[in-house]
C-alpha cells in the first residue's frame, strides 16, 4: 500500500502538469478544453521524434545519465517539446477558439470545438505514428531502488516528482511576483474586473495557453518516460484532469495541484482492489461524488 501511495504521487504529479493548464484556461476563458489531454499526447510524440529521430541523426550521445533511463537527448527534448506544445496551444487558440470568441459563441460551442481539436490531434498522431504503444527506449531494463517500507521505485520516478516540484515552484514565483503573473491571477479570479482595470486580456490569453501548453507537453513526455506512449494516452487523462480541476476549484492553480495528487493516489490505490484498466472509472466516480457533495471544489473557486 505504501508503494501504491508513492506511485500515486508520481502519477499525480504528471496529472498536475495537465490540470494546471486546464484550470487556467477554464478560469480565464471559461470553457472546458477537451483537447488538453491531447496536448500531453502531442508533447510526448514530439519528444519521441526528437529523441529517436532528429537527435540520433545529429549524432547526440545516447548514453544514459547515471541510473536514469535517458540522457542528453531527453534533456534537450523536454524543453523543446514544451516550447512546441506551447506554440501548438497558441495556434489552436488562434485558428479555432479566437474566431468563436469574436462571434460571441457560447462556452458550449467552444467546448465542442475543443472536442473536435482533440480528435484532430489524435488522428494526426495515429497517421504519423500508428496505433501501437511506443517507448523512448524499447527493451531497456529499468532497475528499481529499494526504499524503506518495501517500496520499490525507479530513479526515473524520483526525477519526475522532482522536476514537477521544481516547475510548480517556478510557476508559483512567476504568478506571485511578476507583473504578468499577478495580472493572470487577477484575470482568473474575475475576468471582467481585470479588463476594467486595464489589464491587456489578449496578452493574458496568450500566456495562459503558452504556460498551459508547455506544462501539458512536459506531462506527456514524463508519462512517456514512466509508462509508455500511446495515441489515446491524453484521452485517458481527460477524466482525471477534469476531476482534479473540479476538486481543486476551477481557476485555482494550487487546488489543481492538490486535486491531481489526490486523483493520482486514489487511482493507484484502487488497483489493489480493481483491475488497473478501471483507473479512469475511479476518477469518474470521484468526480461524480465531488459534484454531488461540493461542486465548487475543496478550495472554493467558481462552481
Amino acid at each position: 500500500m505504501a508503494e501504491l501511495f508513492v506511485y500515486g504521487i508520481v502519477l499525480g504529479s504528471i496529472i498536475a502538469l495537465g490540470s494546471i493548464g486546464l484550470t487556467l484556461v477554464y478560469g480565464i476563458l471559461r470553457f472546458a478544453n477537451f483537447a488538453h489531454g491531447d496536448l500531453m499526447t502531442a508533447g510526448a510524440y514530439v519528444a519521441l521524434f526528437l529523441v529517436t529521430g532528429l537527435f540520433s541523426w545529429l549524432g547526440i550521445s545516447d548514453a544514459n545519465f547515471g541510473s536514469l533511463s535517458f540522457g542528453w537527448r531527453m534533456a534537450l527534448a523536454i524543453p523543446i517539446s514544451m516550447i512546441a506544445i506551447a506554440m501548438l496551444a497558441i495556434l489552436l487558440d488562434r485558428i479555432l477558439f479566437q474566431p468563436l470568441r469574436r462571434k460571441k459563441s457560447g462556452s458550449v460551442i467552444l467546448a465542442m470545438s475543443a472536442l473536435g481539436a482533440s480528435f484532430i490531434i489524435q488522428m494526426m498522431v495515429l497517421i504519423l505514428w500508428g496505433a501501437d504503444s511506443l517507448f523512448y527506449k524499447p527493451g531497456v531494463l529499468r532497475p528499481a531502488l529499494m526504499l524503506p517500507l518495501g517500496i520499490k521505485i525507479r530513479p526515473d520516478q524520483i526525477f519526475i516528482v522532482l522536476i514537477v516540484f521544481i516547475s510548480f515552484a517556478t510557476l508559483h514565483l512567476f504568478l506571485k511576483y511578476t507583473r504578468m503573473g499577478k495580472a493572470m491571477r487577477a484575470t482568473a479570479d474575475n475576468p471582467e474586473l481585470a479588463r476594467v482595470t486595464g489589464i491587456d486580456t489578449k496578452k493574458i490569453i496568450l500566456w495562459t495557453w503558452g504556460i498551459g501548453g508547455a506544462m501539458a507537453g512536459m506531462g506527456g513526455v514524463l508519462y512517456g518516460i514512466d509508462v509508455q506512449l500511446h495515441p489515446l494516452m491524453g484521452w485517458g487523462f481527460l477524466l482525471p484532469l477534469f476531476a482534479a480541476t473540479i476538486l481543486g476549484g476551477i481557476g485555482n492553480m494550487y487546488g489543481a495541484l492538490i486535486g491531481a495528487l489526490v486523483m493520482g493516489v486514489a487511482q493507484q490505490i484502487s488497483t489493489a482492489y480493481l483491475l488497473p484498466t478501471y483507473k479512469p472509472g475511479v476518477a469518474f466516480i470521484i468526480m461524480i461524488l465531488i459534484l454531488l457533495i461540493r461542486p465548487q471544489g475543496i478550495f472554493g473557486g467558481r462552481s
Binding site: F34, L96, G130, L238, L275, M287, P295
Partner: protein, 322 residues
Amino acid sequence: MDLGGIIAYLVSLAILAGIYAVFTLGLNIQWGYTGLFNIGIAGFFCIGAYTSALITTPMPTGIYAQYVHQIFGWNLPFIFGILGAALVCGLIAIFIGIPTLKLREDYLAITTIGIAETIRLVFNNEQWLANGPRGLMGLPQPLQEWINARDYNYLYLVIVILILVVIYLAIERAIRSPWGRVLRAIREDEISTAMSGKDIFYFKMQSLILGSMIMGIGGALYAHYTKSISPDVFTPLYGTFIIWVMIIVGGSGNNKGAILGAFVVWGIWIGTKFMTDLLPYTLKARAPYIRFLLIGILLEIILIYRPQGLLGEEKRVSKMIE
C-alpha cells in the same frame, strides 16, 4: 459491380444512415431544443445495443455456455429488446442528470464522457456480463423468417424508416406543444424561464431522459442490424463524435436538419472511403484516421463559418399558429 449490387450497397448505407438519424433526433431534443451538452452518446449507444441483445438472445447452452457468458438471455421478440433498451437508457439518464443538471452546463458534458468511458470499460472487463471484449454474436433479426436472408436488408430498411418516422412525428408534435416551448425557453434564457415559474431541473431532466431513450432505441436498431456487437464498436469516435458532426452539419434545433445531417455526413464518411482506397498500399492501414481527420476539420469549419448548419432552426411559435 452490377446494378443489383449497387442497390444492395445503397440499401446498407441507408440503413446505417437511418440508424444514425435516430441518434441525431435524440440528440436534437437534448442539444438542439434544450441546450444540454451530452457528449457521451456512445454510452447510450452501447447500453441500448447490449440491453436489446441480452433480451432477445437465448441463454447459451451446452458447449457454447463454456465460451459465451452473459448475465441473462430472455429470448424475447425484437420489440421487447427495443423497449428494454429505451427503458435502461432512461434510467441511466436519471442517474447522470441528478448530480449535473443543477450545475454549469459543461459539467454535464464531462459527466457524460465519463459514463460513456466507464460503460465501455465495464463491458470490456466483466466477462460474466456480456462476454467481455469478444462481445455477443448471432443476434436475431425481426421478422427474419418472412423473407430470404439475401433480401433481408430491404425489410430492415423499412423497419428502420418506420421507427424513424414515428420518432420524428412524435418529437415534432411535442416540440410545438407548451412543453416544447419551455425547453426552448430554457435553452435561450434559463433565468427568465425560472422566473416564469418553470421548474428548470424537472424540464431538463425530462429532455435528457427522452433523448437518451431514443438513443437507446438507436443502439438496439444497430445491434440487430450488424447481428454482432463488442465494446470496441462504441468508441468516442464512432459512437459520439460523428453524431455530433451530423447534427451540427444538419442544423441543431431542426429535426429535418438532424436527419439530413445524418445522411449527408454518413455519405461523406463513405465517400472518403473511396478516396482513401486510391492511396498507396503502405498508407491504407491508416486510411480511417485520415478520414476522421477530414470529418474533424469539417466540424471546425462548420462551427466557425456556418454554426446554424445546412438548415437553421425554423421559427415556431405554436402548433395553433402555422
